[in-house]
């Protein structure tokens, strides 16, 4: 129903792609994967939500936890290919003040380079 469908290392950027409902479960999966990569020394992350066009506030609040982790690790986070309602939700919650969102994965990668 919902899951991480890919983790790519492109240069020094980790790109995590998901599918389906970004709820507590999927949020926690992403969190665990970011944490693991931080402990491996990675600092740049893109979360590609192209195939997750539905989210709840619990999943979104776990994204805040990821922002916090990355602030501590001196890393950066970007989201790309957000469905309009996901972008709107992140904006209402203020997430977009602490990480950038991009229309495409290419644009996000360029920004991180």
């Amino acid at each position: 129903m919902n899951s991480i469908i890919g983790t790519d290392e492109i240069g020094d950027v980790i790109v995590i792609s998901t599918q389906g409902y970004l709820n507590k479960d999927l949020g926690e999966e992403i969190f665990a994967l970011v944490e693991k990569n931080i402990s491996d020394g990675k600092k740049k992350f893109i979360i590609n939500l192209a195939q997750s066009d539905i989210v709840n506030s619990i999943g979104a609040s776990i994204m805040i936890e990821i922002i916090e982790e990355l602030q501590e690790a001196d890393g950066t986070l970007a989201f790309c290919t957000l469905a309009p309602i996901v972008e709107k939700t992140f904006t209402i919650m203020g997430l977009t003040k602490y990480c950038s969102t991009f229309e495409s994965q290419e644009a996000a990668l360029e920004h991180m380079a």
């Binding site: 409902y21 609040s61 805040i64 922002i67 602030q71 203020g94 602490y98």
Partner: protein
Amino acid sequence: MKETSEKTPTVELKLPILENMELVATQTADVVSKHMKLSSEKSDEIKMALIEACINAFEHSKSEEQIFIHFIIRENNLTIKVIDKGAGFDSAGVAIPNIESKLNSEESKRGWGVMLIKELMDSVSFESDHTGTTVTMVKNLENDE
């Protein structure tokens, strides 16, 4: 005068408290929105608000094992009621969440549901006492902004 379903078409849902059952509500909202010819933007906002109202109802009415959702199809708006038989709460007492105070503090990162519902719908009201909570949320057909 109480509106009857004869006058106002109403879709009613009773959901068991099971994982992801809020998606039944969003799927229903989808069909109802299409029937009412709402834009996909409005339809998405309704679905997101509905998810949040359902999650709250699920979380706070566990003992009852079910919640109720009514979609009332009016000429000028879609009115949705999410009803639980949980412990109730004081909606006026819910703090407005703020990402600045949540970041790098011990504060729970959660607490966004009520705010999101209010932002995404045109009007929202809570009736709540110890027998349960009814959240009534309205999406107008016309943009009045």
